[in-house]
Amino acid sequence: MKLPRLLLPLFGLLAAVATATPAYDFYICANINRNYVIGSKIVTTNGIFQRTDEGGWRHFGYNDTSITAVAFDPRDRNVIYTTALNGLWRSLDGGATWRICNGWDMTEGREVAVDPNAPDHVYVAFTDGIAVSTDRAQTLVRREHGLPERGKFTQTIKVDHTRAGRVLAGCEVGIFLTEDGAQNWRRVHATTDTVNDLQQSPHDPKVWVAATQSAGALISRDGGLTWTPFSGVPTERALYNVTFDVTNPDRLAIGSWAHGVLTTEDGGKTWTSRNAGLPENPRVWRVGVDPAGRLYASVFQETLFHSDDFGRTWHPNDLAGSLVNYFFTLPKAAN
């Protein structure tokens, strides 16, 4: 599937939402092979799916049950990065062929992020630290100066799309910031358990939110320098991820195994549990909002649900039995 090269800054294009044909491409990384374990036979197709205009899901790339995140080179949609069990994979031809970018000294990539202002730079979160590439992942080098020797399990990494080299990472012992392309890291918020997700607001680059395992959800209004908890969000159970609604600055959603889906429509002042219509014992693995404001929730051992009323009512989707590890939005590729 060869995509034409498109050189557009990612978010600058937030034109009004076209209800008819969406102005965005919407991707998920999903494992559909229930209870897969190394050695059992894969009977389904897993990996990256792109939503089709008809609302279905089209798989591309390898059949890999372990893909945890995906990112694209903003300049060329054919350059795709995915993190997975083996580490970081890269495709230069839209997913037809791939290359493993790390050796044996890195494994189990958790998330990958491309610096929109320095698109050759790729940042990867690993179970034992952070690696960076400055050559489109042809080579990968650990850059962990400032991370603690123990406690640098990194679940999430996001690049501040306002300034090259400014990156936030969610680790076992807190949120870490670099402003020099990962030459140096410093902790900006301490936690005792893993920071599971970091998101930069598509509406106000200064606004960042985080979902953590035992410190609830956090918000920063100064570009991630300081963080304060959302009071309305419970802290004792793990929050798996958090997402903005690209169509409405006041709407956010949180996914959690224990709490299911939590949403706010007032910028986080109040949060409501939106599990009615989902299977009981919600076990939400991941939430996402597509560019049309549709809210998705992937439920463990169930399927992918979507809601067009931001969680009040839910509908099972046709990606039955899927477990979505990642939602990703990109402006529509001009073909």
């Binding site: 493993i100 189990e108 123990r150 893993t194």
Partner: protein, 629 residues
């Protein structure tokens, strides 16, 4: 994708094909007390290999190729040089939808190499193509990586000089070969300096031995071939030294619900049967054992190792160091050291670690296991444990969220992980000390843990089980006398047996579990040989007379004079003291005992038995065999 599994029930291709010769796993238990003369020793080994090859080849039905030919049987037929056309046909079928992951990779390598001259060009091309089209998951566990990288190494050597786009990795043959070689050397370096990660595994021994046999046979680079051969010696020397009459017992870095109780019923017994001939082969040769057979004749078990397994002159203590699985989180050390103690006697063996969580799944910390003439179906073991199920501990060693794994693994070959009456697994709240055939296990379970009790396993095969007024529970196991002292009140629940990790149902075969619902707890076990006492009563009297003081608050603490006259003082969380001298873990060697010796960091193992000695020196890749005049 999270936890690995290995011992699936043997591939379901086994048809009731009539068999002329009775396979060993149905025959009588071998009685072996000495190693036969060298020529007969090798001939007997080859005969056992041939038995496996013929057994599996006998099960192939050419009228039902898809139903009876897996990659094991294809490799075996190629090794025997027969039914080549059927092999070609089946290879093409299987490569049409290649599997992924290490458990597909090494069987595919086995077919590629056993068929490198016999398979048709199309069949060989189809195997090669699968390595372009199918992304191979590398897995998250040490044994996965050994299989993954040995397979990638060999395929890259078999097809050198091929560009990146012809490999699923997107890397050239040379890049793949270099990466594989580097990791294999790194793994061997780690294993020969600070110890095996998955030590004494009852099933995953096959996932190390088979790839190493393939390297020792097919690696072109002489250094890697030599390394494969040396690692085989290293692993089988350890199996020989810590098996009791061919049966591997605890401690095991990894075991499973079936073999932690029915100690013989494990793939390790296949290797004991094949190499030492001193225990029955497991059913269908353990399934995976079939992949060791095709090239088995290219490995000659050194006589010194064979003698260690079969000819023990007297009781002996073997102290070794191993390491835990690496901790991604919640640990100051990536791979903390495991201090193993094994005491082997004729009638029983006692083994333990210091009570660390070496692996969050399927670990087994300590037990007393007694000898059974025919171990099949027997549960010849006794131990206690804290049944620990914790999402946090899963997160320590797996890149996962806290909630999914405790339940998830129960569908992935670890059915008992989250069961209160489980008998498999380690716990951060268990500390163990062993001196010869005395084990003291202390527990200080944090409130709020999933299960706030300890379980003690009492086998169906115990005789004269009596709860003595003294507080000791006495029993006889085989020719061993056992005394189990629970340090807190308890009650009995029935023991329900899982035949193996993939068993769906639990069988009531007898036996019971002592369960003691108290956070601060402890177990003392003392074993002895029946021949040491006039009678069982005499043993009981001796046990009652042993000075014992213990308290559970604020933390469990024991002062006990063992049956062997050692004064042991052991408090939870503190270093045990024996005869006034605190145990010095710092001086614990990589291997130390009458048969195996190695310094930590030395990369050199000396294997000795009588006048025979083999030295495996990874510094110079030297295997040195010498005989004292």
């Amino acid at each position: 994708m999270k936890a690995s599994h290995f011992f699936r029930s043997a591939p379901a291709l086994l048809l009731a094909v009539t068999l002329s010769a009775q396979p060993s796993f149905e025959g009588p238990a071998p009685v072996v007390t000495s190693v036969p003369a060298e020529d007969q020793r090798l001939a007997a080994y080859h005969a056992r290999v041939d038995e496996v090859l013929q057994w599996r080849a006998g099960r192939v039905d050419l009228n039902n190729i898809p139903g009876t030919m897996d990659m094991a049987s294809i490799s075996i037929l190629l090794t025997l040089g027969r039914d080549i056309e059927a092999c070609n046909e089946r290879v093409l079928q299987m490569m049409a939808e290649p599997g992924t992951g290490p458990f597909w990779m090494f069987p595919a390598v086995c077919v590629a190499f056993t068929g490198r001259e016999l398979l048709s060009p199309e069949a060989r091309a189809s195997i090669r193509e699968a390595w372009r089209t199918t992304r191979q998951l590398r897995g998250d566990t040490e044994n996965h990586w050994v299989m993954y990288y040995a397979s990638l190494y060999l395929m890259s050597e078999l097809y050198p000089n091929e560009p990146a786009e012809t490999w699923y990795t997107g890397r050239s043959s040379e890049e793949n070969l270099a990466e594989a070689r580097e990791w294999l050397i790194h793994w061997m370096d780690t294993t020969t300096t600070v110890g095996q990660g998955e030590f004494n595994t009852t099933h995953y021994i096959g996932e190390y031995a088979i790839p190493m046999l393939f390297m020792a046979t097919w690696a072109k680079d002489p250094a890697m071939k030599q390394r494969g051969r040396m690692m085989l010696d290293w692993m089988f020397a350890e199996l020989a030294a810590v098996s009791l009459n061919g049966v591997l017992r605890g401690p095991n870095a990894r075991s499973d619900e079936g073999s932690v109780i029915e100690r013989w019923n494990a793939l390790a017994s296949y290797f004991s049967w094949l190499l030492f001939g001193n225990t029955p082969a497991p059913q269908h040769y353990g399934g995976w054992g079939l992949y060791f057979a095709p090239m088995a004749k290219n490995y000659v078990l050194p006589e010194v190792i064979h003698r260690i397994a079969v000819e023990r002159d007297g009781d002996y203590v073997q102290r070794d160091r191993a390491r835990t699985r690496r901790f991604w989180r919640y640990s100051d050390v990536l791979s903390p050291p495991v201090y193993k103690t094994n005491y082997l006697r004729h009638d029983y063996a006692v083994g333990s670690t210091q009570g660390i969580v070496n692996d969050v799944i399927q670990a087994h910390v300590w037990d007393v296991t007694w000898r059974e003439e025919d171990p099949r179906g027997k549960h010849p073991t006794m131990f206690s444990l804290h049944p620990h199920s914790s999402g946090r501990m899963m997160q320590a060693q797996f890149a996962t969220h806290p909630e999914p794994m405790p339940v998830g693994v129960t569908f992935e070959g670890k059915p008992s992980y989250d069961s209160p009456d489980k008998v498999l697994g380690g716990s951060p709240y268990e500390k163990v000390f062993q001196d010869l055939d005395t084990v003291i296990a202390l527990y200080d379970i944090a409130p709020g843990e999933r299960f706030e009790h300890i379980n003690g396993f009492f086998s169906k095969d115990l005789c004269d089980l009596t709860e003595d007024a003294s507080g000791w529970i006495f029993a006889r196991g085989g020719n061993a006398y056992l005394a189990y002292r629970p340090l807190a009140p308890y009650h009995w629940i029935p023991y329900l047996h899982y035949k193996g990790g993939w068993a769906k149902v639990r069988d009531d075969l007898g036996g019971q579990v002592l369960t003691s619902p108290h956070l601060k707890n402890g177990t003392i076990v003392q074993a002895a040989g029946a021949d040491e006492f006039e009678s069982f009563e005499a043993f009981k009297a001796a046990m009652r007379a042993l000075p014992l003081e213990f308290k559970l608050e604020p933390v469990p603490s024991v002062r006990f004079t063992t049956l062997r006259g050692k004064n042991v003082a052991f408090t939870y969380g503190e270093t045990p003291v024996v005869d006034g001298v605190p145990l010095d873990y710092a001086k614990w060697k990589l291997f130390e005992g009458p048969y195996l010796n190695a310094e930590v960091g030395g990369r050199k193992l000396t294997v000795t038995h009588g006048r025979l000695q083999r030295v495996l020196d990874f510094n110079t890749l030297t295997i040195k065999d010498s005989v004292r005049e």
